[in-house]
């Protein structure tokens, strides 16, 4: 609730502290940047490459004397550029992008919460919302395939349909999910 009130970019979420050195910058941010990237590319190889690109590009020019909030904002801005470049270069179109307010506050809020392991991540709640709008069978097939890592064969068995039916179901379900997703309207 209070998180939502921050309409303006929340640059100083953790105050005006300063990092002692670049290694502290790295340690404190590498998981966050990787998490942001994974949420936007969905695979490890790209998430790793893009995370590396962000830090390699950002650490040189970055003023270590900047506050923690500023450093994070700067890394996020770099991440935005790097992600956009990845999509344009390899797919000719920006398939995913970071929202304007950038997903900065969420991990910070999670950090503040000691038992955040039980909390759904931002990515998980987004997916849950997407699944919630689907008919039962569509929801099932996507949950099994994407969230639980079932093979097509296993999914077909679990749903009691043929393998080719499972494939068709998955295809249609994903298409429907795309129509329902927040950024999905044409």
């Amino acid at each position: 609730m209070s998180r939502r009130t921050a309409a303006q970019p929340d640059l100083r979420v953790v105050g005006d502290d300063v990092y002692p050195d670049w290694e502290a910058v790295y340690r404190d941010n590498v998981e966050r940047v990787y998490g942001l990237m994974f949420a936007k590319v969905g695979n490890r190889a790209d998430a790793e490459d893009l995370t590396a690109e962000v830090f390699l590009a950002a650490l040189g020019p970055m003023r270590i004397s900047a506050s923690v909030g500023e450093v994070r904002a700067y890394l996020s801005a770099t991440a935005r550029t790097v992600l956009a470049g990845h999509w344009r270069r390899n797919f000719g179109r920006e398939v995913t992008m970071f929202s304007d307010t950038l997903d900065v506050p969420q991990p910070t809020a999670a950090e503040a919460d000691p038992d955040n392991s039980a909390e759904p991540t931002a990515a998980a709640s987004l997916a849950q919302r997407m699944l919630a709008g689907l008919p039962e069978q569509y929801r099932q097939v996507l949950r099994l395939r994407f969230l639980q890592g079932y093979s097509v064969r296993e999914t077909a068995a679990a749903l009691g349909v043929s393998v080719s039916n499972a494939k068709v179901l998955q295809h249609r379900a994903l298409r429907r999910a795309a129509q329902l997703s927040p950024g999905g309207e044409p």
């Binding site: 590009a57 040189g60 700067y74 956009a84 179109r93 997916a127 994407f146 969230l147 994903l174």
Partner: protein, 234 residues
Amino acid sequence: MSERGVRRFVADLLSGRRPRRFRVEEHEAAELAAAITLRAARPGAGTPREEFVTDLHHRLAAQLRAQTDQAATPLVKPIDVSRRRLVATAGIAAGAAAVGAGVDHVLTTEHVTGAVGGQPTLIPNAGQWRTVAASADLPEGGMTGFDLGTVIGFVTRSGGRLAAVSGLCTHLGCRLALNAPARRLDCPCHNTSFALSGQLLRYQLAVPPAPLPRLEVRESNGMVQIFAPPAPSA
């Protein structure tokens, strides 16, 4: 046809492979985005491998070491030349000021070789403001190359200010490559490097090449624009 790209992308995501590149049509993007959202929601998906974190740490350390070394060792030798030029330029400027001419004018129209201060700005006879990037794509510290058909170059935002320089080496006109990690422009032909501000960083030639000409750059309605001649008609 296009269906195939999407299906392959989704299959790659699901089997943990890097999706193969293909040209995404507008109507396909939402489906890919939905697949990514779902795949990213798998428990533990957003946590990096320890080996990756360690490995990147080493790479960063190596890069930062290289950068400090480079800054510490005097670059090949433009220093002497710069000093000589500075003296000469100061003399001209002082004379010009005495007769009431603008110092800027003297500096920008003078033909200079390797001087620190004398960096000409390209102002074409018939120019127009042409968009090269969205402002949002050029955050603080950002840099990007552009090719306007008539002019190629690089634009950067540093200290809140935009600056643009030509993208052709002043030695023999090879196309400079952006070396983003080192924040400089490298010539593929003779090991010449320029700073993003256009100043000569290093060279291995008998005569130091001139700094890169500047281009006029502005920001308008969320777009970064360069003052350049219109595109050549095909």
